[in-house]
């Protein structure tokens, strides 16, 4: 992470930075006719905005990773499970996987496992609105709206979808 900050910038600002970062990679030819997939719930909100801005030809895909979580033994099934839906084949395609906050990396791990049960993409790039510290797995976002280094125990939570809001929860303050 470059120059991580301690406070999240407003979501709209982060969305625009994230969009710019993806667009730059697209101009460089890293992405070819990408398919976008958002992770329920916050990731879908972010993906909807990006999808519209980028005017992608394929409809937006949505993933609910409840069936792929690694804490089923301790936490059980998530109380609200929604169907995952990928509207086109991802076989051999470039995929932009979108989430709101990258923290431990476990959600992204679960999402990658689920994506590969639909097919074998050519490549997957991870786009997150906020990338914060606290990774428990070797996972890093290719594009982020903001990199954050939060105080111990602090969390950021996105609210939405209209308008998108962000809240920093710091139990020590």
């Amino acid at each position: 992470m470059n120059n991580p900050e301690q406070h999240p910038i407003p979501p709209q600002q982060a969305l625009e930075k994230l969009h710019q970062a993806i667009a730059l990679d697209q101009q460089r030819g890293w992405l070819n006719a990408p398919v976008m997939i958002g992770i329920h719930t916050g990731g879908v909100w972010v993906a909807q905005w990006l999808h519209q801005q980028m005017a992608l030809s394929e409809p937006l895909g949505v993933l609910d990773i409840s069936f792929y979580r690694d804490d089923f033994d301790r936490a059980g099934l998530h109380p609200t499970v929604r169907p995952s839906h990928l509207p086109c084949s991802i076989e051999g395609r470039d995929v932009i996987l979108v989430d709101d906050v990258l923290f431990t990396g476990r959600t992204v791990r679960a999402a990658l496992n689920e994506i590969f049960d639909y097919g074998r993409p050519h490549k997957v790039g991870l786009a997150v609105l906020y990338q914060r510290d606290g990774r428990e797995l070797p996972i890093c976002a290719r594009w982020s709206g903001q990199d954050l280094n939060l105080a111990p125990g602090a969390h950021i939570k996105l609210s939405g979808p209209e308008p998108l809001g962000v809240e920093l929860k710091n139990p020590n303050q």
Partner: protein, 336 residues
């Protein structure tokens, strides 16, 4: 000639069957009957099933949720459809599955139910899916299993068949949406049908507009009105304005002589033909828990016709059973 006919009574099943279905944290642990399962829990099972049904549209029709767990199908009574859909559901959840047909094995050699159970439990089972010809057997088993083991009732005697009722509710919801404005008719051998009893509980719990049963007097249990249904003995009156018709199998193997003059007469009066189907709403759907006796309770042209959702019920059964299994086995703050 005046005949003083007394309707047969449902066998009594008295112990409190529902408290045991939840653990001390309020999580679903066993699924033995619809009774005692709140509408919120029923809706949660149906919503979760929606997620699992979407899995079957994919290249890889499997999720890793129950990897490393063992599900044991205990069939004390023969069954094809229910056993195979439970087996497929468990396999699609990545569980290991054992099918034990006890209708033809140890119990016939005199082993007691508890001994059989303990032996299978020693094989490190995490879930028993129980089908038994005696009402209350899955409940008895649930009382005696180790704390980490869950039990799902796959049909017990005349008592209950909760996953069948849930998949029926799921199928109705997919076609009709909201339950409140619906009229649903359950037709045929209600007396011997555990499916009908569970359906009545599930649809009443989900606040269906009107629930009807249509059958000859001899095939309806006494006092069934107390379960919240309207009783009809005439098909034309019973099917009027109905949105969903659920035909039941005429259970010839459970039928004591004398309840029906003949199957032919039953078909003439209650068999669902195209002509009788026209008495319901034009967009009514036709359901049957299977296996259907064609030419006894349903005409082939109706069973295979455009209003029939019978095969869809079978497919939906897999998703609903995946939901029931994963909710029972994924207990928050589990007791094991």
């Amino acid at each position: 000639m005046a005949v003083n006919f007394v309707r047969p009574k449902i066998p009594k099943f008295t112990p409190d069957p529902w408290a045991i279905q939840f653990d001390q944290h309020g999580n679903l642990k066993h699924l033995l009957t619809i009774e005692g399962i709140s509408p919120q829990w029923i809706t949660r099972i149906l919503d979760t099933a929606e997620g699992f049904v979407s899995v079957t549209d994919r290249e890889v029709k499997k999720v890793p949720l129950l990897r490393g767990r063992t599900v044991v199908n205990l069939c004390f009574e023969s069954s094809t459809r229910t056993r195979t859909t439970f087996e497929l559901a468990a396999k699609r959840l990545s569980a290991d599955v054992l099918n034990i047909n006890l209708a033809t094995s140890a119990t016939k050699k005199g082993e007691s139910l508890l001994d059989t159970l303990r032996n299978i439990q020693a094989m490190q089972a995490d879930m028993f899916v129980v089908r038994h010809e005696q009402s209350g057997a899955p409940h008895f088993i649930a009382q005696h299993v180790e704390p980490h083991v869950s039990v799902i009732n796959a049909g017990d005697g005349w008592h209950a068949h909760p996953t069948q009722a849930l998949l029926d509710a799921f199928t109705v919801r997919r076609h009709k949406g909201d339950f409140a404005p619906l009229r649903i008719a359950i037709v045929g051998d209600v007396l011997h049908s555990r499916v009908a009893r569970s359906q009545i509980h599930v649809f009443n719990s989900l606040n269906v507009g009107e629930l009807r049963v249509i059958a000859p007097r001899t095939l309806i249990p006494q006092d069934i009105e107390h379960m919240g249904v309207r009783v009809f003995h005439d098909m034309r009156a019973g099917l009027r304005d109905v949105d969903v018709i659920i035909m039941l199998r005429l259970q010839r193997e459970r039928m004591d002589a004398g309840l029906l003059p003949s199957e032919e007469e039953f078909y003439r009066l209650y068999g669902l033909t195209e002509e009788k189907l026209a008495w319901a709403k034009p967009d009514a759907i036709v359901m049957h828990p299977g296996p259907a006796n064609r030419g006894v309770e349903i005409e082939s042209r109706v069973a295979d016709g455009p209003q029939s959702v019978i095969l869809e019920q079978v497919s939906n059964g897999i998703g609903v059973r995946m939901a029931a299994m994963s909710l029972c086995m994924g207990r928050k703050g589990g007791e094991s």
